[in-house]
Symmetry: C2
Subunit: 403 residues, 2 copies
């Protein structure tokens, strides 16, 4: 637990620190252009996804590469090469991602890892497990246990609406699955036997006044990295996993990577995303608690239009004349940043960047493009979600054999 | 968590302390006559079982009272009056006891709470749940998880052999039951949300270098105090419980009693036993790790005879002449202490005490009585145990409706 683990959270909680704050419970930056991700890579000890790795992904998968990778939205990794090696050799691996179900509606920032995970599943055609940490949310929030469990089901519908392969995807809530398969608790306790309070203190910044549920929880998020947690999928095989997630979740898996060899398991590989900034600007993450900081998957076209027009931080100039003269600044313009995430066509995006930077395109025009894209994207999601029945949820959430 | 909880373990771990050491992992005394149980009652803040309470038990149950109570072996309690109130009013309660399955064979000291629990079940005719903390043993010992699970099954056979009512007894292993009913994990996490590291540090003496599994575990032992852990037995009813256990387990339930009202549950009532001393003398508890410190349920008649003759600490005099003159000291004589536990007839026991104290009975004669009693008791247990099938174990360990 010495080489792999930094002292991130303790550092981050120092209000006077110069660094960005990135841990599972806090993400913020004091810089207008947002978090310095290169610096984060060196602090976390992960590896940058460089051009060479992008070429390798392309040549190994023989499929067009997702724009989340080419545009640097998924920008960091651990051991991705070893997963590509496995794929080349036709050997099995699985995908593991998750979500802490904190509110009934997800926002578009929450979609990023799921959109990308779906792409990975389509490209590699491997089993996928999705953890809903309703226990974590119950422990951290002022929330009743039954409410946390309900949120899991609501969130599962949004996740299923992303289009995951139902023959190859197992979604589970911790509260539900813990009572369905002894393998989960067994692996949780195995991990809890290998990690000391000192270690979680160093990794997560826990203190003596934290409740013991929080102190014990990291093992619950770590356990799905062990394929033996899912004997109904993997039988007795030790199958490695790849975790697509936002980089704030990395501390859990640094801990897991340290523990895994002691337990005779593979270290999980990771691929990390940056954060979709809030409408107000790149210096904070979207927050489910501020309704105007984000575009929600339940927003109406009118709400989307109003939020973008009213709140989306602009990199444009104060007057039209000045904008025509000096152009806009895409690096801080939230509408552009959102298009960079969700507009699939590189050609269209490049054109928008050129025209906005030169001043040919005005902020209002840029916002209009984003409004149209968000509206159609969210309407499509709402339409997909409305078709998800309780039966569908039950099917995805039943422990069963996958492909 | 302030009034009900002492600072027991931190005190106890001080080698220079004058007090006896009694916590879930250590029990020993520096006095020849063993632990000072009156002092323990005042340190723990429990209540003594006095003559008045004994009369009340007798008048409420209208049955002959167990000699474990009249002879002060079960000597302390918490809220036993409220359980008797419930029984008088015909209102339900249940019994909860347990065992940490650390070795394949139990010794006769382990039988004490089970013999007494069976008596309570016979007298009150109430449901009984018995927890096998294989997770605790895995966390505390150098033991593989699969071994801990196997020990649970072996121990369950010894427990069943004590004669519990199979229509009214649910035996569960933590590793198994956690994966069978979501209610168990839900209550564990509820408790873990209500207890801080500071609190378990104060109660159990945990430190920063302890693994997080140990820190989280007390909630697992606390959860069966909540009847909602067993919805298949109690449905939605909030039913109080009475816990018969050795007093070293009290810290778990002091913690639980503090937490219960916050979670809308009844505080568990307790009835505490003292410890059967080791063959070597009253200044230590029997230990499963020293084969000669205890009489095991697997011992042969020859082993029983040899152990008692060779190791049972004697309160007799050095020579026959001196013994006839001065008599023996029952308060330190282990053979007498064992008879006090297991010889049911008060008349016989009183006669032995008189004759041994007066010098009329020699140590060899006293040991002979104990050898005969132990041999027949253990042979009967072995015969009962040999009839327990895996099917029986499965039946007792299946979550199901009880009477």
């Amino acid at each position: 637990m010495t080489t792999d683990l930094g002292n991130l959270s303790l550092e981050s909680k120092d209000d006077n620190c110069e660094d960005d704050v990135v841990d599972p419970w806090n993400v913020c930056s004091k810089s207008k252009t947002g978090i310095d991700y290169d610096k984060l890579i060196s602090r976390f000890g992960s590896s940058k996804i460089d051009k060479k790795l992008i070429s390798r992904i392309q040549s190994v998968t023989k499929k067009p590469i997702h724009h989340f990778i080419t545009r640097g939205i998924f920008f960091s990794h651990r051991d991705l090469h070893s997963i590509l090696d496995l794929y080349e050799k036709g050997k099995p691996f699985y995908l593991y991602t998750g979500r802490g179900p904190s509110s009934t509606s997800l926002h578009i920032g929450h979609l990023v890892p799921f959109i990308f995970t779906k792409w990975l599943q389509d490209v590699f055609n491997v089993p996928l497990v999705i953890q809903l940490t309703d226990d974590e949310k119950y422990l951290w929030k002022d929330l009743k246990l039954e409410e946390a469990k309900k949120l899991s089901i609501e969130n599962a519908k949004d996740i299923i609406a992303c289009g995951f392969d139902r023959k190859n995807t197992f979604i589970f809530s911790d509260f539900q699955f813990m009572g369905e398969s002894p393998s989960f608790y067994a692996n949780v306790v195995r991990i809890q036997k290998s990690v000391t309070f000192n270690q979680v203190k160093g990794i997560f910044g826990f203190g003596d006044s934290d409740v013991i549920g929080k102190i014990a929880f990291p093992a619950v998020q770590a356990a799905p990295c062990m394929s033996s947690t899912f004997p109904f999928i993997f039988g007795e095989n030790k199958v490695p996993c790849l975790i697509p997630c936002a980089i704030d979740q990395d501390p859990y898996f640094r801990m897991t990577r340290d523990v895994a060899p002691k337990l005779g398991c593979h270290k999980p590989a990771l691929i990390h995303s940056s954060f979709l900034p809030s409408l107000q600007g790149s210096d904070s993450k979207m927050s489910a608690s501020d309704l105007n900081s984000a575009i929600y998957l339940t927003d109406t076209p009118k709400q989307i239009k109003n939020k973008i027009n009213k709140y989306a931080f602009s990199g444009g100039q104060v007057t039209v004349e000045e904008h025509r003269l000096k152009g806009g600044d895409c690096s801080v313009d939230i509408s552009y940043q959102y298009l960079k995430h969700f507009l699939e066509s590189d050609e269209d995006l490049n054109k928008i960047e050129r025209n906005y930077t030169s001043g040919k395109m005005l902020t209002g025009e840029l916002k209009k493009i984003l409004i149209d894209l968000m509206t159609s994207m969210i309407q499509e999601h709402q339409s997909n979600r409305s078709k998800i029945t309780n039966e569908d949820v039950k099917e995805f959430m039943t422990p069963r054999k996958l492909l």
